[in-house]
Amino acid sequence: MVFNTGAALLDAIVLAVVSRENEGTYGYKITQDVRRAIDVSESTLYPVLRRLQKDECLEVYDRQFDGRNRRYYKVTEKGMVQLNLYRVEWKKYSGKINEIFEGGVIE
């Protein structure tokens, strides 16, 4: 990928990916989903998830799966607020960039 992904954007993408699953989702799937959007190292995702969890944007719970406890991540209320903030910010940001890229009038 040509463009760098900032920490905030990575947080936003992870929150968005997790929020799509009402029942929550697990690490491997989150990683694969995020990587569908951006080129990010697999080893980068765990620290991001852990940080979001500590920030109470994500909550975790274990559920039995295939004879083991699989860890699930779910977006919290606070996480949703944060995600919406990111969405608004992204809309503004990408809008401005698009305007410039697509020949908008720059004053």
Binding site: M1, V2, N4, T5, G6, A7, A8, Y26, G27, Y28, K29, T31, R35, I38, D39, V40, S41, E42, S43, T44, Y46, P47, L49, R50, R51, K54, D55, D66, R68, N69, R70, R71
Partner: protein, 274 residues
């Protein structure tokens, strides 16, 4: 390296972080391998890089994040995280994210192809035949070389800059001194020339008054006598003054010239001596 070895190594490397954190991470990566499936094991290990890489990322995120908001900062100027710089040496840095002037670059290896060839010194992840992960292939990227604090060219440049700075101060002063000297010399010339001119003028005026007195001799004798007398006195005074002034000039002008010549020779003379 297989999954078991990977996880064991990771656990050892994470021994320094709190128990809870370690368990969280181990749980995550155990899940990760499970969910990836046995068939993807090699691929996952490749993608994760090395246990050192994974551990370094986890530790980096833990250290110093009181509020849980990682210490690193992604800014327009790139990623800045002072902790990372110190960590880079003992622990191999995450291979797929490296510091560059532009910030982080996340590399993709999904198809084993490097998608980041736009960076000249990018870590090349081309054909990946074996499991062994060559560390020196990214070692050079992490070397943070501090430039020498002093160097010869730098010193020369500094000397030139100091010289220029001094010159910028010295020039006006030098010019001022020169200007004052020239001014004084011309003033001296002018003074003595003025004395001569004044004396000559006095002489001429005395003579003129004398002549004027003579013209009155027939109409008003006493006035004529007084006038011509004082005219004569003035003429004589003027004559004396002129002679004196000219003589003074003869004495002073060569002296002034000598002083000027000496002043002009002074810098060269001094240089020659030293």
């Amino acid at each position: 390296m297989n999954r078991k070895e990977f996880m064991e190594r990771l656990e050892v490397l994470l021994a320094v972080i709190p128990e809870e954190e370690r368990q969280e991470a181990i749980h995550f990566y155990t899940d990760y391998f499970e969910d990836a499936g046995e068939e993807n094991e090699a691929q996952v290990i490749k993608e994760l890089g090395s246990p050192e890489n994974v551990a370094a990322l986890i530790k980096a995120d833990l250290s110093g994040d009181g509020g849980g908001d990682g210490g690193g900062e992604f800014t327009e100027n790139g990623y800045s995280d002072s902790r990372f710089e110190q960590r880079a040496d003992p622990v191999p840095r995450p291979n797929r994210y490296k510091r560059a002037e532009g910030g982080y670059t996340y590399h993709s290896t999904q198809s084993g192809q490097s998608t980041s060839s736009y960076r000249s010194n990018s870590y090349e992840r081309g054909a990946y035949g074996n499991d062994s992960y060559s560390r020196d292939s990214y070692g050079s990227d992490q070397e943070y070389q501090e430039p020498p604090r002093t160097s010869r060219p730098l010193k020369i440049v500094l000397v030139i800059l100091i010289a220029l700075a001094v010159a910028s101060f010295a020039w006006p002063i030098l010019l001022a001194v020169l200007g004052i000297t020239i001014g004084l010399v011309f003033a001296a010339f002018g003074l003595f020339a003025g004395l001569v001119v004044g004396a000559v003028a006095l002489m001429i005026a005395g003579f003129a008054i004398f002549v004027l007195g003579l013209t009155k001799i027939l109409t008003a004798l006493p006035i004529a006598l007084v006038t011509s007398g004082s005219g004569l006195i003035l003429f004589v005074l003027g004559l004396i003054a002129t002679v004196a002034a000219v003589k003074l000039c003869f004495v002073m002008y060569p002296a002034i010239f000598r002083i000027i010549v000496n002043i002009c020779r002074w810098p060269f003379h001094r240089k020659a001596v030293s």
